[in-house]
């Protein structure tokens, strides 16, 4: 299932709909990178609210996406990680270090806007 990528001003929003296959994640990574370049976006929000399991591949891909987008000069926030998922991830040692996280979409947007302000 393809992940839709929405553009909202300077920010791109990718919302996971349900459990994704590895191929979907690869597509998302490629798609996000291309769109960041094309729209000259400054921030990316990946919303994982709908995910009730996060395997190590998904977690690693998320981290890679965040780091690659940083190399393009934009910020990434992962939002909407469920409490159970968060604890399971930590127990498996997948802590997304170096990646910003926020409670939900609203918080994520607020974080990015704050970030843009501090850069400007």
């Amino acid at each position: 299932m393809e992940v839709p990528i929405l553009k909202q001003g300077e920010v791109l929003i990718a919302t996971f709909q349900a459990a994704l296959s590895d191929a979907d994640l690869e597509n998302l990574r490629r798609g996000l990178l291309q769109q960041v370049v094309r729209f000259r976006s400054r921030g990316v929000i990946v919303d994982v609210t709908a995910m009730d399991v996060m395997d190590s591949f998904a977690s690693r891909t998320l981290r890679e996406i965040a780091h690659m987008i940083r190399l393009r000069g934009a910020e990434t926030v992962i939002v909407g990680i469920q409490p159970e998922v968060a604890f399971a991830m930590v127990q498996l040692g997948m802590t997304l270090e170096g990646v910003a996280t926020a409670l939900d979409l609203e918080e994520g947007l607020a974080y990015l806007i704050e970030k843009f302000k501090s850069i400007d």
Binding site: I78, V79, I81, P83, E84, A86, F87, M89, V90, Q91, T95, L96, T101, A102, L103, D104, E107, G108, Y111
Partner: protein, 304 residues
């Protein structure tokens, strides 16, 4: 091989006994005789037993009168169990007795001790009665011993079960009381932890905190562990994991009130201090949280 030898030998003795028993009374008849004897000498045996109890310094939490009263009913239930060979009444009595004496601090070894003492006192009296007729004494003891052991077992198990039930009940009560997640300002939660943390409680704390972060939309959480004297490595690791999981939900965690022992544990397990945000006491923690949230608290006079 040895085992088989043993069992054949065992069988042989049993056969032997059976053949000896054939001409005389059946075991139940022996038990009846035994019970009659115990009933007859009730007063004397009971007093001797109570004497032995105080000699052995058991049941020190109870007064002499109480011991005597309990001893009387234990003696009667004991004889009754021997007579009827049913243990349900005794089991109920043991449970009832345990319920009464556990809150007074009676220990397992005391309960087991007094039942074994009674068993010994009664066995002695049987020795005294049948010492002239060795064969009969043997048969009487054959009937008495298994029943007596079973009684001792029943009482001890009843006591331990009751004790475990009380402990379980208390654990549950503590668990229910133990984990408040409180909102002190908008988007600021505090989680005061008091007492010993076992892995199960740690897990529960984490679950409640993460759920609290979500429902209160918290941005900063202050975990205060002033009331925790020490924690083992497992629980310390769990604390670190809780901090990281909270970050994944977008909340910053500040840990306050670490005791020197806990600080040592955290250093020993090699916590990445970049991930842990710690402040000396709860006040400092809340102040830092307010700074993070952009609050500025000042006296009214200063603000004017």
């Amino acid at each position: 091989m040895a085992k088989r030898d043993g069992s054949t030998k065992d069988l042989a003795t049993r056969n032997n006994q059976a053949s000896e028993l054939v001409p005389s009374e059946a075991p139940s008849e022996l038990l009846r005789e035994l019970v009659a004897h115990l009933r007859q000498n009730r007063t004397q045996l009971r007093e001797e037993w109570v004497g032995r109890i105080s000699e052995a310094r058991l049941l020190t939490a109870m007064t002499k009168e109480e011991i005597f009263a309990e001893a009387t009913s234990v003696y009667d239930s004991y004889v009754e169990a021997l007579e009827t060979e049913t243990y349900e009444d005794l089991q109920n009595y043991a449970r009832n007795l345990s319920e009464r004496i556990i809150p007074r601090g009676v220990e397992t070894h005391e309960v087991v001790g007094i039942v074994l003492l009674l068993r010994d006192v009664l066995a002695r009296s049987l020795f005294a009665k049948y010492q002239t007729d060795f064969k009969k004494l043997n048969r009487i003891l054959d009937a008495y011993e298994p029943a007596a052991n079973r009684i001792a077992n029943t009482v001890a198990v009843g006591f331990v079960q009751e004790r475990e039930r009380v402990i379980r009940q208390q654990q549950e009560a503590i668990r229910e009381l133990s984990t408040p997640v409180l909102q002190v300002r908008e988007r600021l939660l505090i989680l005061p932890i008091i007492g010993v943390i076992d892995p199960q409680r740690a897990r529960q704390l984490t679950e409640q905190l993460l759920r609290g972060i979500r429902t209160n939309r918290a941005k900063v959480v202050v975990i205060d562990i002033t009331g925790v004297a020490a924690m083992d490595v497992t629980v310390a690791n769990h604390l670190v994991q809780t901090v990281e999981a909270s970050r994944l939900l977008g909340a910053t965690v500040i840990v306050t009130g670490l005791s020197p022992e806990i600080a040592q544990t955290l250093v020993t397990i090699g916590v990445d201090l970049g991930k842990m945000n710690t402040v000396g006491d709860l006040q400092g923690g809340i102040e830092q949280a307010e700074r993070l949230l952009g609050y500025k608290v000042m006296a009214v006079a200063e603000a004017r």
